[in-house]
Point group: C7
Chain length 231, copies 7
């Protein structure tokens, strides 16, 4: 069976079972990325992301895992760093373009869909490999929203969701402990708790990014000092 797999997993093409192996391999890269968690809380959307900083001289603030995409939209990714940065940069251009053309903030679903379309093309055309990232895109428009896009480019909305190496453990915990309309504080604590559980090493404030998007304040990100209050 092994030679059979090899025959269909190079370039974007179907295996006899209708699978796209290059997409599945890209997901493998996501499975090795640091964990990110998103959750819809009572007054806003919460994002907590692990930053796996192994070198002591790195400036933690420059290793960003949660990004402000627009005034009311944030995003976090797991997987290939450069793919993540590239897609975030693409999202920023697209929301800015939307604002220029329509004079309004793009909805969270609309930008998620646009990114999904970009990522879909990388699974259908030759001469390009699939993106090796999953994304959590959260924000507030008429409602609080949280979407996941994965290397195969499908996207779904979640109340709470996790991507990256801790996805399985995180999902179990979220399913047990996430509650509708839990407070932002509780949601952050839940997220931080999961990342603590997933990682063996002790967490310092600089190993976390925490951001919250609310109707009132839009996208806000926590300082290391604020983060340390949750450790």
């Amino acid at each position: 069976m092994y030679p059979n797999i090899q025959a269909y997993d190079r370039g974007v093409m179907f295996s006899p079972e209708g699978r796209l192996f290059q997409v599945e391999y890209a997901k493998e890269a996501v499975r090795r990325g640091a964990t990110s968690i998103g959750a819809i809380a009572d007054t806003g959307v919460v994002m907590v992301a692990h930053k796996n900083i192994t070198e002591p001289l790195i400036i933690p603030s420059t290793v960003q895992k949660i990004f402000k995409v627009d005034s009311f939209i944030g995003a976090t990714y797991s997987g290939l760093v450069s793919d993540g940065l590239h897609v975030v940069s693409m999202m920023r251009s697209k929301t800015q373009m939307h604002r220029m053309v329509y004079d309004e903030t793009e909805s969270v679903e609309a930008i998620s869909r646009e990114i999904s379309e970009e990522m879909q093309m990388a699974t259908q055309y030759g001469g390009i490999r699939p993106y090796a990232i999953s994304l959590l895109i959260g924000g507030v428009d008429t409602e609080k929203r949280l979407y996941e896009v994965e290397p195969g480019a499908s996207f779904s909305g979640y109340k709470a969701d996790a991507i990256g190496s801790g996805r399985r453990i995180a999902a179990e915990t979220l399913e047990k402990e996430y509650k509708d309309d839990m407070s932002v504080e509780d949601a952050i604590n839940l997220g931080v708790g999961i990342i603590k559980k997933v990682n063996e090493k002790k967490l310092a404030p600089e190993n976390l990014d925490i951001s919250v998007i609310t109707k009132e304040k839009g996208y806000t990100t926590f300082t290391p000092k604020e983060i340390s209050g949750y450790l």
Copy 2:
């Protein structure tokens, strides 16, 4: 015989028997997708689609299987999620463009044909793989219409039709129980019944999308509450 098959199933080219293996493999992906059903009833076209939601924290309304394409046109797909979303988005652009250019709603057949042409190209040109989706496109123009387009890009009109993993079972039931001019209610019940039969797990309202397109109201989609009345 096995090495022989392998020789012709990578890239878009014919096997000695005139088969396009990449198209056949794409159909395999459709055969693994969740089931969607469409039926022409007395006063409108009915669409019922199964949503295979495995994660409890997914927001079911964000996992859409039936889409409003235009005021009087809806569509549902089975197969690769991102291919489905991409084609639906393409359909919306095309019908909008039609409205802008001709100042009229595009007919259901015309938009089905346009999508079929897009999907045909993905079976004839290099550097792109075939789409791994089947589509049911339903609507009302001068008449009630229901079309299916499949990965090989052929399309046909149906009184009632099913795509996805339950296609075979669904077809048997439809052939026995579908009746011309059955009421919209009966058609929905028939569709829901088939999806119940196809799936072993108990269905919750959030496991279904139900939409109806009528001359009077155009495309309408059911709320979970309305859906629960059919379970």
Copy 3:
């Protein structure tokens, strides 16, 4: 000898004997398509096509095998459904363009030649596979005309001709029974008779498309009721 063939049948290139295997494989797909018949009769050109409808809920009128290309031109194909629909759509654009530019109906030979040129390119350039269809293009301009174009893109005019799975049997019958200036009625009966002979299953009106193109009425297609008179 077998490995030798394999070496030249992928991509468009010549075998040592000067053969284009991909074109020959495309013809194999045509040989598996439903039979279509065309014949020049006394007052018009007759087209009879078999529609192999296997699913009872298909709406037969949506499975079209004979198409109006222009007021005085019709076409039928055998082979890959989506290739057939694509080429018919191309023919319609070309004749419409001709009308716009030259303010006259394009001749049957001219449109056949144009399609032949399109299909020739798919046999000479890389990055595209040959079309897997044969076409019968019939019509009336200064005279009654009937042309065949095949996957290798050669085209010839016929008094009467058949394409698809029943080609060989049809040809024998046509050669024996076709007569110059036979009446349209007789030609239709001859065509229907052949399709009956070729197929084992009993024919219903919805298993046939019949169209006639005459100087007087241009392209007309038969209703199922009219068709049933010939069964």
Copy 4:
């Protein structure tokens, strides 16, 4: 030695002996084509071409082997039908364009050279296969002219020449029996005689195309009735 050949005969590239195998294979296709003959006679250029009509219902006049390219230029080909039709169509566009730009008939040598350049590119660039045809291009400008272009794109002028399956036999006969300033009648009889010799089957008028290009009348083609006078 055999595997060695295989290594260089796919795609346009040189073998260690400096041969282009794809061009040689294309010539093989020409060698299997029906025979065409051209000859310069006293008052014009004569072309005689065999039409291998195997199906009785084909309309012989639609199977054209000699084509009017311009008022004083004709052409005939042997080899792949669709390549032949494509190149003839290209020649017509080019001579028409010449007339439009320079307001004069293009010379026979000029159009032959232009076609040779097109065919040369198909032997040097990737992504396209060589043309599988030989052409005889004849006409009258300041003089009577007859040129041959072959799949390798070289071209030469001939007093009398043959292409296709009967080339070898035809050449022997032409060398013995062709005479400078033989009459058009004699040249036609010589050409018809050769085609009779090359083919085992009895020739009917519809198995031949005969055209003559003279200073006085330009390109004229014979009716079946006229042709029958030479059988």
Copy 5:
């Protein structure tokens, strides 16, 4: 396992474990490059780079390892010389363009991000190999900044960092001896010390590039005479 690796390391595509082998091989080229060190000191950013000059007749000043990118931005690379020169040239164009369009100096992070996006594309598209360089980009805008970009195109900010063959040894030393707000003098001495440790051969002034970027003087580079004071 070895043949398995070979199957995925040619062209840009994922291995079953989600790795991009061509990127990893490019890093190998960086690992063989001469060492460069960057550090943020109290009043500016310090860059020290080893120049491995093996030929005595080379003019050392022409072998540049640290480059002025803009008035307040410098960069050094390790890896393939021509890739390094190409990217530096690209950075200069981009900062110049930024100045022209926005009439302001581009921030260090912005130019690093732009280069990272260029390098990301070389890891995702076919027809181009990844860049075989790591870059340290340092400068002063609202703050002192130091970024690293590597062949996989990820980038992070550092207080102090090393790239090239001495990276591992340099990192150990930097972690032990680097101090926040150490003086520029001390930072240079630390950098030079590391390069001395990494290389067995005695260092001459022409084996080093030293540059400092400060708020006051912008980018300044040391003369060999100034450098010799640190040896």
Copy 6:
């Protein structure tokens, strides 16, 4: 060693020894071409080319081996006929363009260099094979000139030179018998003598092209009658 060669001789790429096999194979095709000779004589440049006419009905004047490129420039080639014709046609366009843009005759060196650049590209880029011709380009501008360009695209000036199958024998004779400032008559006789020596068959006037380019008369070509005087 044999499999090793095969690995590098398809497509334009270097072998481990830095050789371009496709260029070397193209030279092999030149080595099989008919011989052409060029020589600078006292009052002009002489070109003598062998025309290997094997078919008696070919019109020798149409098999051209020496071409007028411009009023004072001629060229002859050995190798692939269609490549030769194509490059001559390119030379004519280029010199004409030069005349139009600069209102002066292009120098022999300039046109040789331009052709060399075109031929160089065919040795460096993919998707095109090298030209399988050598060229002798002769003419008079401020001086009498004779250049050779070969498939590898290098070019050099010669006092006297030969290309094609007789190159080796021709070179020996030229080295012995060519004299600076020999008369045009002597040079022609030398050239014709070499071609006689190289070919076993008796030469007829139609087996030779002879052209002379002088300051006074520009490019002149000999009639068969004039040629017969040298046999």
Copy 7:
């Protein structure tokens, strides 16, 4: 190990050790080229190049190894003749363009860098092979300059440098005998001496190109008579 190498040396891609084999093979072609030497002397830059003229009838002045690029810039190459001519032609266009746009002579470093960028692209993109030449580019702008660019596209400045087959021997001699501010005469003698040492055959004036670029006279090249004074 051998099969391992073969796997990475076709097309531009990295081997597991981060090497670009096609670039290394191109260097092999340079190593087989005739030797060129450059040296900065007291009043100018000296270039001496060996011309390996094997055919007695070649006109030595047409075999150029040192080229005037601009009034104050010269260049010599070793390696593939046509690549050398192509790059020299490119350099001339670029310096001319610079003069037109900026109304000043381009600096030696700037043109060297531009050529290096062109050559870098041929090592990173598919569909093109690396250039198989090394270049010495010398000239005078604000200072006397001498740069080397090699197939991998790196470039460095030298006091004195050699490229081609004699590089190793030349380097040893230059290191021993080159002196800063040696006279132009001495530098020429040194260069000629090295070429004598490298080649076994006796040198004639026509086997050498000698050029000098000085502030006063710009680029000047030596006549054979002047050259013979150094033999």
